[in-house]
């Protein structure tokens, strides 16, 4: 079973509808047992880092997620669900799950015409091939809505970047975990493709191989 973590009573219907559209049978759950026994987990997020972490801890989902990830379950984090997978978020000065080393910062933009939140369609440039990002071509755009952005400590965990004054990491991954800053459920055909890929992914990914296939990446070791 694929479970969509419903830990903060957010509007997650769009994630489920996207799964349905690509034939991935997914249901909502906020129960730690569902997480530890899941075949796949989608970890979306709405609201703010502080309340999201409180809600995860109250339900025991923080520990359950770590258990599931350690056991190899494929996990897809979306937006705030991705952000809380890093160590720390500036939003509400929050210690987050620490599944991947890195931190989440508020955009500090110099150009006055650039607005915060970064809202709308923007190009995703894949830096390291990944099964879940397969089929994203140069020029493909995804839908973003966020005022904070992630940066990973280890460059090999950064999978794709987007430019908003500067490049920021918009997709990150480690082993069986992948997270996106953009909303694939709101990103049309190319977004649905990502759910299709995730539905088929066995949870295996290593930066070495991928960067070699990709013709070499400066950041990968």
């Amino acid at each position: 079973m694929t479970w969509i973590l419903d830990y903060d009573a957010g509007n997650l219907g769009s994630v489920k509808r996207a799964c349905t559209e690509v034939g991935l049978n997914a249901e909502f759950s906020a129960h730690p047992d569902a997480v530890t026994q899941a075949e796949r987990i989608i970890f979306p997020g709405v609201g703010a880092a502080g309340s999201a972490m409180r809600s995860l801890r109250e339900r025991g989902l923080d520990t359950a997620l770590k258990t599931a990830i350690a056991s190899g379950t494929p996990v897809l984090g979306i937006c705030l669900g991705m952000q809380v997978s890093l160590d720390y978020s500036e939003e509400n000065d929050t210690q987050t799950l620490g599944l991947i080393g890195g931190r989440v910062q508020r955009f500090k933009l110099n150009r006055p015409e650039l607005k915060i939140p970064h809202m709308g369609w923007n190009e995703v440039r894949v830096k390291q091939a990944h099964p879940v990002l397969a089929g994203i071509d140069a020029g493909d755009e995804f839908y973003f809505v966020h005022g904070y952005f992630p940066s990973t400590t280890a460059p090999e965990h950064a999978l794709a970047v987007t430019d908003y004054e500067d490049d920021f990491t918009c997709a990150l991954g480690k082993d069986n975990y992948i997270g996106t800053q953009f909303h694939p459920e709101k990103s049309g055909r190319v977004g649905l493709r990502l759910f299709e890929n995730f539905a088929r992914w066995d949870g295996v990914w290593r930066p070495h191989e991928a960067s070699t296939q990709n013709g070499g990446d400066d950041n990968a070791e």
Partner: protein, 259 residues
Amino acid sequence: MLSKRVVACLDVRDGHLAKSVKFVNTQNIGDPVEKAREYYLDGLDELVFYDITASSDKRNIMLDVVEAVASQVFIPLSVGGGIRSVADATDLRLAGAEKINVNSAAVARPDLINECSEAVGDQNIVLSMDVRRVQVSSEQPSGYEIVINGGRTPTGRDALDWALEGEKRGAGELVVNSIDADGTRDGYDIPLTSAIAEAVRIPVIASGGAGLPEHLHDVLTDGKADAALVASMVHYGDYRVSGLKQYLHEQGLKIRMSW
């Protein structure tokens, strides 16, 4: 770099699509779900539904429309019209709306903006404002006044001032709709749009008056808008969404061109 958005607005009355000209003489022009799907497949960046249902007992029809559209259209869906409370906003969000537009009720009770943005996130609250041109006065120094109730009731409120207050109260985006331009197809109100877009730090969607592709170009450049809202020019088949985007792309604007 962020792309400029082409947004289509569908006015829905009692579950049917309608398009007003200067907010009167609404004509029924088809099924909103079908139209939404058509635009989505043709590259639309965002969809706005405006519920202009007059009677409150038919309000729930809108939830069904939103739900039906949300399961077929995988782009941001924004819904407005008659939202008076956090409960209204939450119901629509659960039905599948990404963004909630508040308008008249927020003018009457500005706290609605704070309450809704707290409940569903400020990035999901759109302050939609209907604006008409007036004499510059001490009460309306910008020369633009907020009108409510579908353009029928003047409020005496200065439009620029209201935009800034909306931003401060937590609106994540503004729709600036010119009542003077609405339905005329003579072009957006560029001075109005740029005055507001330059004053706030949240995205602005320009609305009212689109009739030619050039109008979109002008409001996205001179008008400083982040998105251009279209209605009649695509509803009646004069232009296609993909054609408008192709034109803007050829003019050098950053536009999402693969879908």
